[in-house]
Symmetry: C2
Subunit: 489 residues, 2 copies
Amino acid sequence: MTSYDQIMKLALERGFYFPSCEIYPDAPAGFWEYGPIGVNMKNKFIALWRRELIRRDSMIEIDGSQIMSRSVFEASGHLLNFSDPLLECKNCNSIFRADRYISEKIGRAVPEGTSEIAMNSMVAENHIRCQNCKGEFKSVTRFNMMFKIGIGSSHDEAYLRPETCQTIFVDFSRVFKTMRGKLPLGIAQIGKSFRNEIAPRQSLLRLREFYQAEIEVFCNPDRLNEMPKFDEVRNTRLNLYDDDYHRDITANDCLDHGLLPNKLVAYYLALLTEFYGKTGIDMKRTRFRRLTDDEKAFYSLVAFDFEVETSIGWLELVACNYRADYDLKGHSSTSNHNLEVIEPTNQTKVLPHVFELSMGIDRSLYTILEHCYHEDFRHDDRVVLRLNPYLAPITFGVLPLMSKTIMVEKSRAIHSLLKKDFDSVYDESGSIGRRYRRLEEIGVPFAITIDQQTLVDDTVTVRYRDTMEQERISTGELKKFLEDKSAVV
Amino acid sequence: MTSYDQIMKLALERGFYFPSCEIYPDAPAGFWEYGPIGVNMKNKFIALWRRELIRRDSMIEIDGSQIMSRSVFEASGHLLNFSDPLLECKNCNSIFRADRYISEKIGRAVPEGTSEIAMNSMVAENHIRCQNCKGEFKSVTRFNMMFKIGIGSSHDEAYLRPETCQTIFVDFSRVFKTMRGKLPLGIAQIGKSFRNEIAPRQSLLRLREFYQAEIEVFCNPDRLNEMPKFDEVRNTRLNLYDDDYHRDITANDCLDHGLLPNKLVAYYLALLTEFYGKTGIDMKRTRFRRLTDDEKAFYSLVAFDFEVETSIGWLELVACNYRADYDLKGHSSTSNHNLEVIEPTNQTKVLPHVFELSMGIDRSLYTILEHCYHEDFRHDDRVVLRLNPYLAPITFGVLPLMSKTIMVEKSRAIHSLLKKDFDSVYDESGSIGRRYRRLEEIGVPFAITIDQQTLVDDTVTVRYRDTMEQERISTGELKKFLEDKSAVV
């Protein structure tokens, strides 16, 4: 199985991602950059998300500020509750996240929402000491994970948002009205969120600054089974995991067997499944895990994590949370704005409930890389990133077979004709075999080679990354060929 | 002429942009959100930028963290110099940006880099008082415009980047190596920057959190006239403005007459001109204004602002700055990393110089809206946003002519077939005339109407936004029609 280290090596060496500010010794941990190959792959992932979720479901998308006022987080509860419990050693001042540290030492999970008092007891009862110096710990303290910002010359209190969804809740009223919304309506946002993690780790997997692709479906809680569009996905197969495994079960059967609470939830979990099915992730190694009451937020009526198996365990890619009216109620009462909307069928007012699909983009990209990474032992151990062509960071490379001037000029001319429409590279250095390897490693699905025959009849060879088969194509047909082959299917 | 207020009204009412956190009284000024229509338009603008600048010129793009370490801004000079001079009233504590306030009162510009002492003298000599209470001012103070961030439980000092280019400089060495770069090489980045402006104003025009699309061209200072690709743009026409106006002059003539310093600068200004020529901005109302020594940063050898005439005056959309080796030298000496690269032709080491094209996305979008906004007095004063189809937030609307069930079902079916591939709306409410108006106002170039005849022969009418002409098209040909008509030309 592909390892985390193999992906990290590829990422660093081939321009997928690398640490931020790395030339400086004071570079803070938990910040990473997308290199040119990573940027392209991220853009294509986002394009697929727009196509298969947003446009397919006729959702709308907004893009709001990352710095938001204090009131927002008073209403959302983040000022009070968005904190990690800390353990600090009395002797060496080492700092650990208390719940994780305790659970490692006692060998079982510390439930979400365990009080400081209870954690102090656990530390005492289990004689837990500092792993660095054997010192005793101070009492557990709380550390708010939001980054504070001072605005203007008077440094008015504001915060970097810890989750993109707050923008959607705060903007809901105007967006719903100006876009003439009708429930159920998905409002989405792609953007950065910021969390002052105590222990950021594993590159893209726990960042302090990260990309979310968030969807908040606003709905009428009395009409969660009035979903005509559920019929589009009734036969879509999911993997569910609660006390038991339910593999390869249709959305409709999930409802019939009471595994999912209503058609609205079933529809969106199915849509998400179809989306990830197109990313190249091995869907057999995915599941919707139903969270236990200990795990889910107190306001959440039902919650599923979409998880994927990777070399470092099951990884949560999407949190699917039925948040009920917790958010709009909070913002309504703190802001004194009525956030109800009119249900047109009977002209009654309703405060919408929210079902959320909160996706981590960075983690999704890591997982796709791991599932698509392939070592081909039959052919010189070549490394092949078997990305779907529509997710490939580079769609094609143009390679003159020899460095003769006339062949190079012809190659550049062909590249010029195509390069505005696709992400591409031109490469004339090294043997043709080495150039193929470089392309395969970053997942380029098509290598276009210009050879002697090109100069005669204006045809090129297109070599397929996975099969290494070659096909002869006239240059005039290349654009259509590449468009067709890199279309989403 | 279209006014700022007309665009603001359209933006607020139709989902282009609106103030952030607007339901809260503590919403800080200078933060704005893109609504669904604005997001789509921004995405299309960025797609055009990628196509006509990045891919056309074979540049590479990165996407880095917004929070960067203290050292970065020590090296860049921002910690020391990125500050605004403040005037504070002794009596009522009103705060003004000193240079702007003084220049308003004395009726001439206060040059960039004027010292506090000089400004204090100007205040005294001109008897400048507080405009709110006639009070005297305290001495001018400096206010650093970066937002400070505390990382981790020890709150280590870091900053939100005030410009995206610093990421490119700090990442240059790794990116150049892993991407096997050769000079000249453009490295680009789209992302947010943050400035704690004293007086943010005019919605998208002076924000505290804003989008930049930045290009840094790394080049060998000894080879600024070795640019074979200059030939592609030698006949591209620019408007230059220094002491004199030079209108409609080719890039090549700019060089011949000594108006531009070298082929590299001329090439990129021409590329930028061609890009903006495709955005729908009236290029007759644009100019590259050469900055005077008073205006440009001290390290800049030559600088041009790309400016566009709008209802509120000339607006700077892109700063084009020859920054020489100022940035890499600073980061090199502060980080103790050698940032030189090898020039392959003669194997010598060179510290690249930088020519920067720093584009404001938000301002560009505002300007496009203003230049494309049109009131059609011949037809009921209809408002038409004459956006190029490839920049239109919504490509088409699907409108059933009547609300008969069979026509509505047919319309939804046609919409379903197309909606994943384009940004589109479906609209069945109100008279057909009102529905056309709603589409025209947000620049939708094509309205697809399903009528009685559709049910008979599977054809629809496509109505063109600008001419209001109609054309009958078979539904099977719609996808290709829309692709062709919304392609970049």
